[in-house]
């Protein structure tokens, strides 16, 4: 005779309402009367916005068509036919049609350079990484310029006023990014310099650029800059705008980099000096690699801001993606009530993909770099 149970009872399943899908729903959506109310409110918001949006953008949308007639149908939604018809312009602007392969080639080389580097950022296993970086920073701009502008190697010249659309957006953004990072690092170092003159110059430069809106900088680049150059100097408008954008974003970049520099403990500087490294050696080999890694999110945020700000060039008369799309609203062949909305939504989608992609990518890099320091 024994009072000890020898066999386990069969396990009963957990109560339906606390585990599994139902449990999750109860926990996260209906945890309290207030929670129920909030969920109802959320569902109501979705119900207001989602169905009309889907109806407009997909179900009632006009996908194919030759002209405004197709989009003037009663109850028609988005006029994607307009985007379809103008797609070439949206990408290349007024770039000579027979020469568009040059733009494609530039895009292709760009992707082939950046994609391995981006994958490397996540995995850290790229043989010859330095080659890719050097190519991207030094050779690629020259190649792009030669290909896009032409004039050498039997390529016909395509003047910059013809550049437009996504091409111009990417040129301004990439130019601004490539120039602002080195300039920003120099300015940040200058601001933390022990030399009073250098420090004052850097502080004034940074604060002035950060204190004014980009639009006044662009006005300055397009109206004032020619006045500052010797008479008769003809300076390309795109180049002037690029200079303005680069200087503007380098000031923001400087503040981001300064944040990283300030986070490096004093001991690192002292250790570098103790090793006999000079200022530039210590900065390049010890301080900057650590400081820049700390501020990757900030750098990417500045890049995202710069990318969004490229739209402002349309105010000084350059036709970036948004500018070209807006320009095409005036085409009588496509004048319908839906044209403008469709065009803006398309532009928003493109910009959103780029910006959202960049922010997600920076998150991924951040996570990878933090792996070594994260505690479980």
């Amino acid at each position: 005779m024994s009072f000890v149970r020898e066999k386990y009872l069969a396990q009963t399943p957990p109560p339906v309402m606390t585990a599994g899908v139902l449990g999750w729903i109860r926990e996260n959506l209906f945890s309290s009367p207030g929670g129920v109310l909030m969920t109802m409110l959320g569902l109501y918001v979705i119900w207001i916005f989602a169905p009309p949006l889907i109806q407009w953008s997909l179900i009632d949308a006009v996908w194919r068509g030759e002209g405004r007639g197709d989009c003037l149908v009663k109850g028609a939604g988005a006029c994607w036919a307009f985007v379809n018809a103008k797609f070439g312009q949206f990408i290349y602007g007024r770039y000579t049609i027979d020469e568009r392969w040059r733009v494609d080639l530039v895009f292709l080389i760009g992707v082939l350079t950046i994609a391995p580097l981006m994958i490397d950022g996540l995995t850290g296993k790229l043989p010859g990484r330095r080659f890719f970086i050097a190519f991207g920073l030094l050779a690629y701009p020259v190649i792009s310029y030669v290909l896009l502008f032409g004039g050498n190697f039997g390529l016909t010249i395509v003047e910059t006023p013809l550049w437009g659309g996504l091409l111009l957006t990417l040129v301004v953004a990439a130019g601004g990014m490539a120039a602002s990072l080195p300039l920003g690092i120099l300015l940040a170092l200058g601001r933390r310099s022990h030399m009073p003159v250098i420090r004052t110059f850097s502080v004034i430069f940074i604060e002035v650029w950060r204190g004014v809106p980009l639009i006044t900088v662009l006005f300055m680049a397009s109206v004032m800059l020619p006045l500052f150059l010797p008479a008769g100097t003809n300076f390309d408008k795109l180049a002037r705008v690029l200079i303005g954008v680069a200087l503007f974003s380098s000031a923001y970049m400087a503040e981001v980099v300064r944040g990283g520099l300030q986070a490096i403990p004093r001991g690192q500087y002292e250790a570098a000096s103790a090793l006999g490294l000079g200022y530039w050696q210590a900065t390049a080999l010890i301080i900057l690699p650590q400081a820049l890694r700390l501020v990757i999110p900030g750098i990417v945020n500045t890049f995202i801001g710069l990318f969004k700000d490229t739209t402002l060039v349309l105010i000084v008369g350059l036709f970036d993606l948004l500018g070209v799309i807006q320009l095409n609203f005036t085409d009588a062949n496509w004048a319908t009530p839906q044209t403008a909305i469709t065009g803006y939504v398309f532009a928003a989608l493109i910009f959103w993909i780029f910006c959202f992609g960049m922010s997600r990518y920076s998150l991924a890099i951040e996570n990878r770099l933090n792996e070594g320091t994260r505690r479980a």
Binding site: L41, M195, T216, F219, L227, T311
Partner: protein, 382 residues
């Protein structure tokens, strides 16, 4: 000698000054040359000249016969108007979304995240143009305006019409009552606070204070009559009579600025609240404080310390971003002054310097105030 860092530093700085001097000399001589060649007047005398153009929205008296100087003030006020309203709306919306982002309710939190990710990744200029061209210009004609609050608020192609507040004779009395109540409660509260520090007894004036704040104005209204009448807009012929009109440009700018900036503010609020460590609220609850008190006295003060600095820089961004109005002709500084005035006078250097100086002083003033505030609330370690 070359190896002495001090001498090298002096030489380098001397070189920097020299280069800067050369640069400015180059720029100034060129500018003087060019201006002389183009026959453009220089100096700020143009501010006294007649402007000769109309402005769609003026907060102070202005006509085509007014001077450029007057136009500058009109434009500046318009900038401040849109920035001020934008800051108010963006802050309210941003705090709501930021708190929703932290909600334990999955759906609400995801909706807030969706809002943030959508609106902060679309260029502001695109959003402004979208509201202006795609939404507001598709509104009905004045005859078929959308009407809210039983005709008091009208929305149509020409803008938003709001009831106009008109002061009645009792206005001063009621205002005086409101002010007295406000000042009285604040002074009382301070006095009690000091007393509380001395005696350690907690005296709540929450209800009594609220009572005073409500009772005194109500009493004043009862004695002096309604202080403000609202005159609703009314369509007579082709125009509206009465009411205040917000032009579509202002609406589009306000919409876009508030929605865009709110996404950033929401993220700031979220990270600020998350920055207060969980132990703080646990400790407060262990002391027996109620949830509302924990929130009011423990979490919010600490979160604000993290939130305020980036929040002010967002306010500043919003103010600078209001210059994008140049794209849709809302008459503010960048479009009236750096746009129309510049084109009419051709004095690019003077006009742009004034414009940039205004924005620059706004931002320097803000950072000055910011530093002051920061010093006040900074962590005092005992």
């Amino acid at each position: 000698m070359w190896r002495d860092p001090r001498i090298r530093a002096w030489l380098l700085q001397g070189l920097a000054v020299l280069l800067a001097g050369l640069f400015f000399w180059f720029v100034i001589t060129n500018a003087a040359d060019n201006l002389a060649r183009l026959n453009v007047a220089s100096g700020f005398g143009f501010l006294q000249h007649t402007a000769g153009f109309g402005i769609a929205q003026t907060l102070i008296d202005y006509s085509e016969a007014s001077t450029y100087g007057r136009a500058f003030w009109v434009a500046l006020l318009n900038t401040l108007l849109v920035a001020g309203l934008g800051i108010i709306f963006a802050t309210i919306l941003g705090f709501l979304i930021g708190i929703a982002r932290l909600s334990s309710n999955w759906l609400v939190s995801k909706l807030a995240a969706g809002y943030i990710e959508i609106f902060r990744n679309i260029p502001l200029l695109l959003q402004i143009l979208f509201w202006y061209v795609a939404v507001l210009s598709n509104l009905p004609a004045p005859r078929d305006s959308y009407s809210f609050a039983s005709g008091g608020v009208l929305l149509n192609k020409r803008g938003l019409y709001l009831p106009e507040p008109v002061t009645a004779p009792g206005f001063e009395v009621v205002m005086a009552a409101v002010l007295t109540a406000l000042v009285g409660v604040i002074v009382w509260r301070r006095w009690l606070g000091r007393k509380q520090d001395q005696t350690n007894g907690v005296i709540s004036i929450y209800r009594a204070g609220l009572g005073i704040l409500i009772a005194l104005p109500v009493l004043a209204i009862a004695v002096a009559g309604t202080p403000v009448h609202f005159v609703a807009p009314e369509l007579r012929g082709f125009n509206f009579v009465g009411g205040v009109r917000a032009i579509p440009e202002l609406l589009a700018l306000l919409f876009a600025l508030s929605i865009y900036t709110a996404a950033f503010i929401a993220e700031i609020v979220r990270s600020g609240i998350q920055a207060v460590s969980w132990g703080q609220s646990e400790a407060a609850m262990a002391l027996g404080l109620r949830r509302s008190v924990v929130l009011r006295l423990v979490i919010i003060p600490q979160a604000l310390r993290v939130i305020i600095p980036p929040l002010t820089s967002q306010f500043l961004n919003l103010t600078k971003n209001s210059s994008l109005a140049a794209a849709l002709a809302y008459p503010e500084l960048a479009s009236v002054f750096a746009g129309t005035v510049l084109n009419q006078t051709g004095q690019a250097i003077e006009v742009l310097s004034i414009t940039m100086a205004v924005y620059l002083s706004l931002s320097l003033l803000t950072s000055l105030g910011m530093n002051f505030y920061n010093a006040r609330i900074a962590l005092v370690e005992r």
